[in-house]
Symmetry: C3
Subunit: 331 residues, 3 copies
């Protein structure tokens, strides 16, 4: 395994064996597995879980890490090609990434969607260009429409909680003051389909996920024995749900148009998950990748209830990160 | 020892034994004591000494550390409860702290006073709520009205310099362009009282420390054989002083009212410690927790003289931090 | 070796032996050489290569590092002496540096030129004052007119590429939207002269390097068998050149006057290195310390060609940093 960029790059057996490795490292620490190895972390966007779990994973395995935060002590980075760099960015990723890679044994890169051109973001234009800049082991720490480490941690969380492989997984849109990227909904949708679940995307009109993401998930579901559909009917979607996976995202019909998006979402503040959502799904768990805006996307009463498994999800970033780095740096 | 939040949580013997451990680790390094241990550092406010001494302490003991700086590469954190999070903060400490704790073996948290409601700050409402969010070993790296690591380093400094247990310890207010929190004066006052010193709080009218802090120190002094009083008369206070502990803080009578505070302090720029303060205390040492604004709070002529022991104080953060972390992570 | 502040502090043999050590550490890792050692890094300015290569070097040698970024999670630092600190800076380097040094085994400091007073910057007034604040091993990570780690990495790059000792080294000015410091051109000029090369400084009128820098390089060249001259004639300078070392810098005739500098440079956007510069130097390599603004200073067509060795230069920061830290902390 040379890169961990997308769950879709791996067979189901490879993913199951990564999950098994994560569980093994949880039970049997390997404090010398990565002795002398250095992970370079390039964060073009903020992070708490991803940053801390990567650094802790390297430390738990005996390695070390270093962090570059453009704009916070390091140069702002340009990602566009062919431009005359007379603006704020002092350095281009075409220099920055290979240089950083040359000091390290592996790289992790986070680069959120630019949020202007949906087709470009769906094609992962920026992240793919960055990934081509190094031959070193590379981890996608969230790109325009992917977040494979989060998705694998979510899969482990579902396993930990003994959620049936074919259980009902409702991916629901939730309110947020601004349009957020598609990375996590895209990754969670794909993961649940790969796992073989009955996946329902619940979202208000105007917030349907792009067809390319739905179709990809449908193909994954077809191969795994699962299913994928979408609806705007909350009560129907949630009836008998095993898991409600909550996420905020932008309106795809007016992608990159903040004003139009704001107008659409202004009528949707009621899409804040509350206890009364679960009338017909008493045992339904609530997942969210975090960070979450309390009482915007999910009410306190839900986050602070036994239904919420967001802490376990976040914790699972650590064993999953350990497994991914172990695979990348030992094999 | 599970938490290091307040010197008042420990008996005098426990504190003396922590100080003894600090001295032992100074003389006899233990470069493997914390092998494999990870300290998570959450800094809601800036730091130099606290940050660097914690990281160096973990490294000197064979462990490692990771740093989360909300707003500088990590999400801004909300600390208030029950709010609709539609502002700048993307994440609540109710998620952020347990998540970070789940990756680490111990946490250190810095969260300055909010500086709006004196009663709430004196009650440590915010820090206590954060501390309740994790069961992991926890270090208070400065809260609203406490800074126990600084206080213990100051105690060690007094011991290092052979300042008599019953010596005269003058805690003096000094000028600063803005109102600063009460954490360090509160912690230094309490520490000197616990040590058994003759403590005099020297401050201009309007800058008396809150009664709750004075009374707490008086109770500590009663138990240790020391005393605590306050005055606005500099010459009297300093006569025969062993130590002048300088600190800037806000006017407590108009706590949270920046304009009223500014008006009060505008007349007090002469409260900058100069050589002529020491006419009747020739051997008096000058302490300050740093950072210090030169020629605002203390003049160059004092900071650059042999009287100043601010470097030793700052250095002592390291052995004290080592002792605290050793106790938290080995026992 | 106690400090690494300027190549000029060392004999030619000492420099050659540092380069030999860098090559040895490249071939034969010493993962335990600096076990237990801590490098404190104080960055008053942004960094990617310097930061990452220092942290990676310590990790590769078994040590650790910690980073203080004033203004990004740490206090802003004052460097001027004698001022009343009532502005943005909460701490003076006279406290900050010795304190940080007291926690660490060595320090690295980056402090760019203030860019107001050319004589003061040429005299390294600020950096020298900071260097005097600690006795610990110290590395100059870029000061007003020096960048010895970059210069040594550049020397190693020339050796790696088998550029003849007496080869033609053209240091060329290039366009940048703003005046940049003289540190890198000064260091590269001096290095090439020390190495014994035929050095030509190619720059437009108004951008001649200060006489003090030219004379210093001429003295170095005289001792090493090289030569140093300057010209504004690009074609003549580049004919038969082995290396074109590209760098942006400010107009020294109006140093500190941004408006005058901007007017001068506005006519010089054609000083962007393109393929047609090399008509009479087909095998000429292109060096640049990075970060570089693509299509301002150097065109994509050059940076992306085989002629460019900027990646090797940047990579060489790592073995050179390892050699410097090995020497400082082992001897």
């Amino acid at each position: 395994m040379k890169r961990f960029l997308d769950l879709g790059d791996f067979s189901r057996d490879e993913l199951l064996s990564l999950l098994e490795l994560a569980r093994r490292l949880e039970r049997q620490p390997e404090p010398r597995a990565l002795t002398g190895k250095i992970l370079g972390l390039l964060f073009l966007n903020p992070s708490l879980r991803t940053l801390a779990s990567c650094q802790a994973a390297m430390a738990r395995l005996g390695g070390s890490s270093l962090v570059i935060n453009p704009g916070h002590g390091s140069w702002q980075l340009e990602t566009r090609t062919g431009v005359v760099m007379d603006g704020a960015a002092a350095e281009h990723v075409r220099e920055g990434i290979p240089v950083l890679a040359s000091y390290c044994d592996a790289l992790g890169i986070r680069a959120f969607a630019e949020g202007r051109d949906l087709a470009a973001d769906l094609a992962e234009t920026t992240f793919s260009a960055m990934a081509r800049l190094t031959d070193k082991p590379l981890v996608n720490l969230e790109s325009a429409v992917n977040h494979p480490c989060q998705a694998l941690a979510d899969w482990k969380t579902l396993d930990d909680l003994a959620v049936p492989r074919g259980g009902r997984f409702v991916l629901s849109w939730a309110y947020h003051p601004r349009a957020l990227p598609l990375a996590v909904p895209a990754a969670a949708l794909h993961m649940a389909a790969l796992r073989g679940m009955e996946v329902i995307v619940l979202r208000p009109e105007g917030f349907a996920l792009p067809a390319a993401l739905m179709e990809r998930a449908q193909r994954a579901a077809a191969a795994s024995g699962g299913s994928v559909r979408e609806t705007a009917e909350r009560a129907e979607a949630l009836t008998g749900a095993d898991v409600l996976y909550v996420k905020e995202w932008g309106a795809t019909g007016c992608y990159g148009d903040a004003a139009a998006d704001a107008q659409l979402r202004s009528a949707l503040t009621a899409w804040c998950v509350r206890n009364d959502w679960f009338a017909a799904a008493p045992d339904c768990r609530v997942m969210h990748c975090l960070p979450v805006r309390r009482n915007c996307a999910i009410a306190d009463e839900v986050l602070d209830s036994a239904r919420s498994v967001v802490q376990r999800e976040a914790y699972n970033r650590l064993p999953v990160q350990m497994a991914v780095l172990h695979q990348l740096l030992r094999s």
